[in-house]
């Protein structure tokens, strides 16, 4: 959620599908219809592959000491080694597993909460809405990362709960409010649509209307808040581990940075101990953010930066259609 200020208005799944139809209205069609989404998905897929194929990419155990001390990058250890003589490249590729898993688990759980709170709040309205939106707004206004730090810090009083699963849980709990508010706003308008009234008239249950009628029409928005939460979770996970709140004996991007800071590698100029991990976080988060901007552009074509000539031409086309309409 580092780039949170995307405009979420007007995201309507049907319009995105329409626009992607030229290329076959499948998921692949959506991905290839916007260069930003295509690049973003490509990079994320690259990291997922690296994480899955970690044992094939490096012969080293990321946590095993293989040399004495911290060596600079060389053909044998392309990212150098850590202060404990562990292979940095192995730490990075195995560390990708931790960041991706924590980010994914937290984002899935958080999205489920967002859907639950956002949709029920808006659909039922009145008192339910008053109570739930109060809850959403309180969580929104309380600073998320400090709350996550308090939770993770107190949870780690029990040594057994100092692991990435607890971090995912903490992030899930502290990251749902923004998406819930966005979904609530969208549901408020969808609730008034005719198909919802029709569903209500034929006596469908509220649960069915919310999850089978309204939710499918918000898929694009849910996808966009999911990706946004994913970005936030990856960044916050690295931050919590950087503070030493994760399992510091197990290689992950945040833990690499924790040791880099603790061993004061900056002062002695050992840049290879902090550059690769940080760049990986940045590239992963940026490509996720790109996916989100792409989704926004699909939904709201005005945001696209296009050549003016193209825009003018389209304007003319639209005016032509409108004229026909009026006649």
């Amino acid at each position: 959620m580092q780039v949170t200020n995307l405009t979420h208005q007007n995201i309507d799944s049907s319009s995105i599908l329409d626009r992607a139809k030229g290329r076959g209205s499948s998921i692949l069609g959506i991905i290839t219809s916007n260069p930003k989404i295509a690049i973003g998905v490509g990079v994320v897929a690259f990291f997922v592959l690296i994480a899955l194929a970690a044992p094939l990419l490096t012969p080293y155990d990321p946590n095993a000491t293989i040399v004495t001390g911290s060596l600079p990058p060389s053909p044998i250890h392309i990212f150098g080694t850590t202060g404990l003589g562990q292979d940095m490249f192995a730490q990075i590729v195995y560390g990708a597993r931790v960041s991706l898993t924590v980010g994914f688990v937290a984002a899935i759980g958080s999205t489920a909460l967002q859907v639950l709170f956002g949709l029920t709040s808006a659909y039922f309205g009145s008192l339910v809405d008053e109570v739930l939106s109060l809850l959403i707004n309180v969580f929104l206004v309380l600073p998320g990362l400090p709350l996550a730090i308090v939770l993770a810090s107190l949870a780690s009083a029990n040594a057994a709960s100092k692991n990435e699963f607890v971090i995912a849980l903490v992030l899930l709990f502290t990251s749902w409010s923004y998406g819930a508010r966005v979904l609530r706003a969208q549901t408020l308008s969808l609730r008034e649509r005719e198909y919802v009234a029709a569903a209500r008239a034929i006596g469908e249950s509220s649960l069915r209307i919310i999850f089978a009628e309204i939710l499918p029409n918000e898929v694009a928005l849910v996808a966009s808040t999911f990706v946004g939460t994913f970005v936030y979770a990856v960044g916050a996970e690295v931050a919590l581990e950087f503070l030493g709140l994760g399992d510091t004996s197990k290689a992950s991007w945040g833990v690499i940075l924790y040791w880099a800071q603790n061993n004061a590698v900056l002062i002695v100029g050992k840049w290879w101990q902090f550059v690769p991990a940080g760049l990986c976080v940045a590239v992963l988060c940026a490509s996720l953010a790109f996916i989100n901007i792409g989704i926004d552009e699909l939904a709201n074509p005005r945001l696209r930066s296009e050549k003016m000539a193209k825009v003018l031409k389209r304007k003319k086309d639209i005016e032509g259609v409108l004229d026909e309409h009026h006649q």
């Binding site: 580092q2 780039v3 949170t4 200020n5 995307l6 405009t7 930003k36 109060l134 707004n137 309180v138 929104l140 206004v141 309380l142 600073p143 998320g144 990362l145 400090p146 709350l147 730090i149 308090v150 939770l151 810090s153 107190l154 949870a155 780690s156 009083a157 029990n158 057994a160 709960s161 960044g235 931050a239 950087f242 503070l243 030493g244 709140l245 940075l257 880099a260 800071q261 900056l266 002062i267 100029g269 902090f274 940080g278 976080v281 940045a282 992963l284 988060c285 940026a286 996720l288 953010a289 790109f290 901007i293 926004d296 709201n300 005005r302 945001l303 930066s305 050549k307 003016m308 825009v311």
Partner: protein, 329 residues
């Protein structure tokens, strides 16, 4: 007026929630953090009365009913008692926070104002010149920069500009050895010099949000009839851009203030750690490192309180700027 009362009520509820979280969280956690904290405290010289107070604060005394613990906790808070910091024994948490808070407020305040001004201006310009090369290039670059974790950006800047080029000091809030804190030129210059790199870190990290919000709303307002009208009247470009388009596009930026403030505060906490900057983030870090739960909780409370107050102020500004809200329509 009614709107303001409602908002005041909301912020009071939010504050109560923060306070209550602080009360509940340690009691829900496995492994009993309170016992761990007290065990740690007992290795130091604590008087019996202090120990009793801490037991009350963390509610480890099973004989006291939970509602009584809650009221004891609230009354301790109202008296400004946040417990003893084991990480800096025997200081009171509240004293440490009182010393740290001005540093963080200064850092965050300067960064937010700078990034708001720069970001809004950049967003304005690239929306105005939509389709030009910098409209194509600037947003992706900023998106990438904002995806860089704040503390890593800080590490990189320290490495290049403080260690490598030696332009800026590497740590602390001022030159601890050569200047005395107070209202003198030496101290103030030293503070500014030490703040430059952390502020740059925070501005770079939070710029993208302002730029993208401003660009996206401005693109929408540029299509409005009154902008076309202003152009048709032959008004100077600058006037159309600032007084017609930007003026109406700036409101959403102010609404998103609360979310971005939360992010900048979080970023500042981590940035302070890298720079050993003597603010709340550094105090929080020391608390986390030495399992000083009183410190961690105290930091959270102060941060939450500060963020709530800042948000409330931003809403007041919003009411002032947007007459529709004032009239409650």
């Amino acid at each position: 007026m009614r709107y303001l009362l409602r908002r005041t009520g909301f912020y009071l509820v939010a504050l109560w929630a923060a306070v209550t979280f602080n009360f509940i969280i340690p009691r829900l956690m496995p492994g009993d953090p309170a016992e761990a904290y007290i065990a740690k405290l007992q290795t130091q010289q604590v008087t019996r009365a202090q120990l009793a107070a801490i037991r009350a604060e963390f509610g480890v005394n099973p004989d006291v009913p939970i509602w009584k613990q809650y009221f004891d906790y609230l009354s301790a808070l109202l008296h400004g008692q946040l417990g003893i910091a084991t990480s800096q024994f025997p200081s009171q948490v509240s004293d440490i926070l009182r010393q740290s808070l001005p540093w963080t407020i200064g850092l965050v305040g300067a960064s937010v104002i700078l990034s708001f001004l720069i970001g809004t201006l950049v967003g304005m310009v690239i929306a105005w010149r939509r389709g030009s090369w910098y409209d194509t290039a600037v947003p992706p670059i900023l998106t990438f920069l904002s995806a860089v974790p704040y503390f890593w950006m800080a590490l990189a800047l320290v490495y290049v500009f403080a260690v490598g080029l030696n332009w800026f000091p590497t740590d602390s809030g001022y030159d601890v050895f050569n200047v005395t804190p107070g209202w003198n030129i030496d101290f103030i210059t030293s503070v500014i010099q030490h703040a430059i790199l952390p502020v740059i870190t925070l501005v770079i990290g939070s710029l993208a949000g302002w730029v993208l919000t401003m660009r996206n709303t401005m693109v929408t307002t540029l299509a409005e009839d009154y902008v076309v009208m202003a152009q048709a009247k032959g008004l100077p470009e600058r006037r159309v851009m600032f007084n017609y388009a930007a003026r109406n596009a700036i409101l959403p930026s102010i609404t998103s203030f609360s979310i971005s403030l939360g992010l900048v505060v979080s970023g500042a906490l981590l940035t302070e750690i890298v720079f050993n900057y003597p603010g709340i983030g550094f105090a929080l870090f020391k608390g986390v490192q030495s399992d000083d739960y009183a410190m961690v909780e105290g930091c959270f409370l102060v941060i939450a309180l500060a963020v709530l107050i800042a948000n409330f102020l931003s809403e007041l500004v919003y009411v002032f700027l947007d007459p529709r809200v004032r009239q409650g329509s």
